[in-house]
């Protein structure tokens, strides 16, 4: 396979041999206003291609990267499972509330400890605790109102809206968040997730169940992703695999508990597709790619010599 690289502008790939791999880059502009974000120094372009791409595009790495997607799907399903448990009265609101309080406490302690290793800020800790307390107060105040919001609507309408919100949440979720920021880059995704939980909560029978369920939703949809993004050890391959396997088993057990076998099968299929089939397909596509547009492009780059 022969190789060539472009100088200015894009090289016409259609004229070349289909087997030929073309590496495209744009020379940076001479003035600041002409410089683009994706400008690459041609002297180090190929070197960066060789260094950055191959390790990140190994099959194992691709498998690990898809675990983030699976994690989010599992969390959404867990959220739905908790709703079903509340609705079928398999768990009590007080019991769930107690469990959730424990989780919240653990989360905050973990967060404070993690933050303390890097930098200690008492005001930020206090602010986080204050925000948490405010959230709980809001839930306690509005849960009677939230319980009756969708009384006049049919269940089909509500569940359709829930499904739509779930899809929007998963589609727009930021799977590569900024690890330095303790907030969500994709507000729409998070709001869609909250909406989904609020709609589900409006179908519960008691205000305590509503508050308990919403607290659990905050834990699952907001704090867990935030914590895993923040904690560097969670991005380690083995830890990520163990976490996802645990989530998978927990979801399967829960679906079995609420007697939703169809959903369990569908979840298994989706997991297999997301975690196995799709990465493998992507890995194959990378080897067949013949137009590489930059260091950020997913491709398999052979060893090339610098000019």
């Amino acid at each position: 396979m022969s190789r060539s690289h472009g100088t200015e502008g894009e090289q016409a790939a259609s004229n070349g041999d289909p087997e030929e791999v073309q590496y495209l880059f744009r020379e940076p502009g001479r003035r600041d206003d002409e410089r683009e974000d994706n400008a690459v120094d041609p002297r180090v372009f190929l070197k960066r291609m060789r260094i950055e791409n191959p390790p990140a595009r190994a099959l194992a790495t691709l498998f690990v990267d898809t675990l983030v997607v699976h994690r989010q799907i599992a969390l959404v399903l867990l959220d739905f499972l908790v709703f079903l448990l509340h609705k079928d009265e398999r768990v009590t609101a007080k019991g769930m509330f107690g469990i959730e309080l424990h989780f919240f406490a653990m989360f905050y302690v973990l967060l404070i400890c993690v933050v303390a290793l890097v930098a200690r800020s008492r005001s930020k800790d206090a602010r986080r605790v204050e925000q948490g307390a405010l959230c709980m107060l809001l839930l306690a105040t509005f849960s009677p109102l939230l319980r009756t919001l969708t009384e006049a609507y049919s269940s089909d309408t509500v569940y359709t809206l829930v499904s739509l919100c779930g899809v929007v949440h998963l589609y727009l979720y930021d799977y590569q968040p900024d690890v330095d920021a303790l907030r969500f880059n994709s507000a729409v995704s998070l709001n869609a997730g909250f909406l989904m939980s609020l709609l589900l909560a409006s179908r519960l029978e008691t205000s305590e169940a509503v508050a308990s369920f919403l607290l659990c939703s905050i834990l699952l949809l907001a704090l867990v992703p935030m914590g895993t993004a923040r904690a560097s050890f969670a991005r380690h391959g083995v830890i990520a695999v163990l976490m996802n396997v645990s989530l998978f088993l927990a979801v399967q057990y829960g679906l079995h508990l609420v007697e939703r076998s169809g959903l369990a099968v569908a979840y298994s299929v989706v997991t297999f597709m997301v975690c196995v089939v799709c990465p493998f397909l992507l890995w194959i596509l990378q080897t067949r790619k013949h137009v590489v547009r930059g260091p950020w492009d997913v491709a398999k780059v052979d060893q090339v010599e610098l000019d």
Binding site: L138, F142, L149, A152, F184, A187, N191
Partner: protein, 576 residues
């Protein structure tokens, strides 16, 4: 018919103009020559002078009969040529049009004097017996002499043209009269008028008469927290209007037309008021019962309760999905307001017949039908006060919900409004903010239909109230500007209001002659112009145009009527 065209220039003298009372006017004459196809236009100034025949010829004046209309007091018009003169050459005059007050007509005698009119020439070339008689007649009326008028008034007199009149008509408009000392009656009327205006202009705190407007005031508007009584009530505004009418009747320099219009409207209003007042004073109980059963029924507690319960029902009116809890709260609030108001008005109900009797007496004493209508206007406002309160409340709630949904929808998308830049920018929200935003958006969204149902119901009721109020105000305004005087004048004297003149050629034994026919405004035209005021008054009564109405209803903005004020007298001769 044809006229012999010469180039001689002279002045056209017209006599026996019928019933025109304007002191002077400008007349436009358009002359068209057929053969040469030329057209000329000339502006002529007409000055009217009183015709005062001398004693010796008064009997002859009676013999003139119907040639022009009335006897002494009829006017003669003289045209003064204006520079530059217009000359038509060749051909027959096909059409001549004169625009201006009139009518205009040539008597045979006057025609005899015409040797040529800018482009138009008449026979005879020598004076006939008829011409001599006409000349003598004019001399009897002082037309042939120049002793009464100085040459400065009429520069054409030097050329031996027709002289001007020297004395004013005794029926000339009052504005030409010199100011006179006011009579005792005028002083009394003026005093009464001033008293009425002062009473009506008393300032009262806005919070008492317009509490809702007072609550809506911002800090900028807080500078004027006081209103005049006449701005708050139609009855008080009518009292102020009566005061102005009294002052106008007492004014020494008022024009005849305005004076007549005011007096005629007042008398007409009072006559109608007498009829209605008699009915009210004699049959106050029956009328009160009828009003209560017809109009009051719609606002009775039971009927309003049924309407609210219809909205509260589980059948979801108009397909609205109502939230049970909020529905119950709002419904109970509405029912409480309605019941409270009805408890209050029930205390006043026994005084209804006495109130109607009082209004009847007031209308008999000079208030007129306008007083009854103004009272009905204020009564409508008072009876529907609870509707106005509830409409204001639900309009504000609707506006608040729309604003909330807009704001939290932006939060849902991670945006916020940049007030400084006037645009929507990306917002930086914490997790708690996003949670609260989602919750609030859901709450606003799912509760919107419930408040919308109540808003729609009370918008409908309020619009009905506004329409009734507006119709009453329009009726009052129409009554105040009814053209009684103009119609009466036109009926008595059809040529009272000229609006144009047609000059036509006619064939006389001695040749071609000009005949001017006047066009007059008839009773139908006057009434039609009066009725056409309904449209502008309707626009005045509304605050918004059609598109504004729709936007106001959609956005929950206030819909109200303009303040009740009655036509102010201008300095024009007539009000139409």
């Amino acid at each position: 018919m044809s006229g012999h065209i010469t180039k001689r220039k002279t002045t056209l003298a017209l006599v026996r103009a019928e019933d025109a009372r304007l002191p002077s006017a400008r007349v436009r004459v358009v002359l068209l020559a057929r053969e040469s196809k030329t057209c000329r236009e000339v502006e002529l100034e007409v000055r009217r002078r009183q015709l005062r025949p001398r004693r010796a010829t008064r009997s002859r004046r009676g013999e003139e009969g119907n040639e022009g209309g009335e006897g002494a007091g009829s006017g003669f018009y003289v045209i003064k040529d204006q520079e530059p003169r217009v000359v038509l050459e060749g051909g027959d005059v096909e059409l001549v049009l004169v625009q201006g007050p009139g009518p205009w007509r040539l008597t045979p005698g006057a025609r005899a004097h015409i040797l040529g009119v800018d482009g138009l020439c008449y026979c005879p070339k020598r004076e006939s017996q008829a011409a001599k008689e006409a000349r003598a007649e004019l001399a009897a009326y002082g037309l042939a002499t120049s002793s009464d008028v100085s040459s400065q008034d009429d520069p054409l007199l030097e050329k031996g043209l027709v002289a001007l009149f020297g004395r004013q008509d005794k029926d000339a408009p009052a504005c030409n009269a010199q100011s006179k000392d006011p009579s005792r009656l005028s002083k009394v009327l003026d005093t009464i008028g001033r008293t009425l205006i002062s009473c009506a202009s008393v300032q009262i705190p806005m919070v008492l008469c317009k509490p809702f407007a007072f609550l809506r005031m911002t800090k900028v508007d807080a500078k004027a927290p006081r209103l005049r009584c006449c701005d708050a009530s139609a009855v008080v505004s009518l009292i102020e209007h009566r005061g102005q009418q009294m002052r106008l009747l007492a004014a020494p320099g008022a024009s005849m037309a305005r004076y007549g219009q005011t007096a005629a409207c007042l008398v007409f209003d009072m006559l109608l008021g007498v009829i209605v007042g008699v009915c009210l004073t004699l049959r106050e109980r029956e009328i009160g019962d009828f009003l209560f059963d017809s109009v009051g029924y719609q606002f009775q507690s039971g009927v309003m309760r049924k309407r609210v319960l219809w909205v509260l029902s589980q059948h979801a009116p108009l397909g609205f999905k109502l939230n049970e809890g909020l529905d119950e709260v709002l419904g109970n609030t509405v029912l409480f307001a309605i019941e409270s108001w009805h408890v209050f008005t029930a205390q006043l109900a026994p005084f209804g017949p006495q109130l109607l009797f009082t209004i009847g007496v007031l209308s008999l004493l000079g208030g007129g039908l306008s007083m009854v209508l103004a009272f009905a206007c204020d009564a409508a406002s008072f009876v529907t006060l609870h509707i106005q309160f509830l409409y204001n409340f639900f309009a504000r709630l609707h506006r608040f919900q729309l604003a909330g949904m807009s704001t939290f929808w932006k939060v849902m998308r991670g945006k916020k409004r940049n007030v400084l830049r006037g645009r929507v920018d990306t917002g930086d929200y914490a997790t708690g903010d996003l949670l609260f935003g989602s919750m609030a958006f859901l709450v606003f969204g799912f509760l919107f239909q419930t408040t919308l149902a109540y808003y729609v119901m009370f918008v409908g009721l309020w619009l009905l109230t506004v329409v009734v109020h507006g119709l009453l105000l329009i009726a009052i305004k129409m009554l105040q500007c009814a053209p009684i005087y103009a119609v009466g004048q036109t009926v008595v004297r059809p040529t009272r209001y000229p609006r144009g003149v047609v000059l036509d050629l006619c064939q006389e034994p001695w040749g071609a002659a000009l005949e001017l026919r006047g066009l007059y405004i008839g009773v139908g035209e006057i009434l039609g112009a009066w009725m056409s005021l309904i449209g502008p008054f309707g626009e005045w009564a509304r605050r918004h145009d059609t598109s504004g109405f729709a936007a106001a209803i959609r956005g929950g903005h206030q819909i109200s009527l303009a303040q009740a004020d009655f036509p102010r007298y201008q300095d024009d001769a007539t009000t139409l």
